[in-house]
């Protein structure tokens, strides 16, 4: 039995926007309102992807469209942006997709959980310290040499342990 032939539109006018110059396509992509729109466009076709993933283009795009605030990686876990903040749906999606308990980072020298210390562009600096009284001022009781540090990406669940401070 003949398999159904794949429909090939016989040479209708080729899609005009496939033949635009890189410069004009960049101008169009610059006007996309959100990084998610840019990501989707990059998956739509090979030449879009080549233009959008170009580092200098991305750098310029970020200047105009700073990455949206999705939430806070707090001591107690991830606190996603709440409505009516425009990032609320994306923040929720991130909370579901990423691991903010950092269970993918192996336990450090101390048998205490990892806690976020700082966050930059989606990367979290984690610290792990000896058991201590929360009532004391942090810096009075944790010696730098006892501090364990790691950097991780809670979304891709990749991490890197940092060398100990001598």
């Amino acid at each position: 039995m003949a398999s159904p032939a794949r429909q090939i539109a016989d040479h209708q006018a080729p899609a005009p926007f496939l033949t635009l110059t890189d410069e004009l396509l960049e101008d169009i992509f610059f006007r996309l309102p959100a990084p998610t729109d840019l990501a989707r466009a990059s998956a739509a076709c090979i030449s879009f992807r080549r233009i959008i993933t170009d580092r200098s283009f991305l750098r310029r795009f970020r200047v105009v469209h700073p990455p949206p605030l999705l939430g806070f990686a707090a001591y107690e876990g991830f606190l996603p942006a709440q409505p009516p903040h425009p990032s609320a749906p994306l923040g929720d999606a991130l909370a579901g997709a990423a691991d903010f308990s950092y269970s993918f980072v192996p336990t450090g020298r101390w048998n205490t959980p990892w806690h976020p210390r700082d966050v930059r562009q989606g990367r979290v600096v984690l610290e792990c310290t000896p058991e201590c009284e929360l009532a004391f001022d942090y810096y009075d009781i944790v010696y730098l040499k006892h501090l364990e540090l790691a950097v991780c990406d809670p979304l891709s669940r990749r991490y890197r342990l940092l060398p100990r401070i001598p």
Partner: protein, 174 residues
Amino acid sequence: MAAPESGDGNNGAARMVTLISSDNTRFEVEAAAASLSQTLQLTILDGGGGGGDGIPLPNVDSATLSKVLEYCIKHAPAAANGGAPNATAVDRAELERFDNEFVNIDQSVLYSLIMAAHNLEIEGLQSLVAKKVADMIKGKSPMEIRRTLGFPDPTPEEQAEMNAHMLEYGWAYE
């Protein structure tokens, strides 16, 4: 008086220039409107385009050129006022209405327009069309973007690329 004074103290009444499209149609238009094009502005300042001469535009056909000039004529008064700092809200709203209507057109025309705007260096028109195309893309999945822009069916390589993308980033689109 046929046309409003452009008010920038040029030589008396509105100076006219002639533009010639790739298919040899002649368009007579006020120099102030044609000067929205950086490229044409230089020629016009040099005294070109007047009399019987005309400025040939071998990259722009008559259908596109008449559309381009429609934009230029509408935007010329505001441009002459230096971006119209003293334009009334009504004027601005009217330009905005015109712009929205203006780009509500077929993709192939949008394509010709953005190419012409780029060739002639008409910044406002290029932005307007680029924004329109961006609006057509935003909020759509990769496959919807392909359909919207009338791209042919994805190659297996492109399909695999899209699947991988959705697997990795699909969480962000729900």
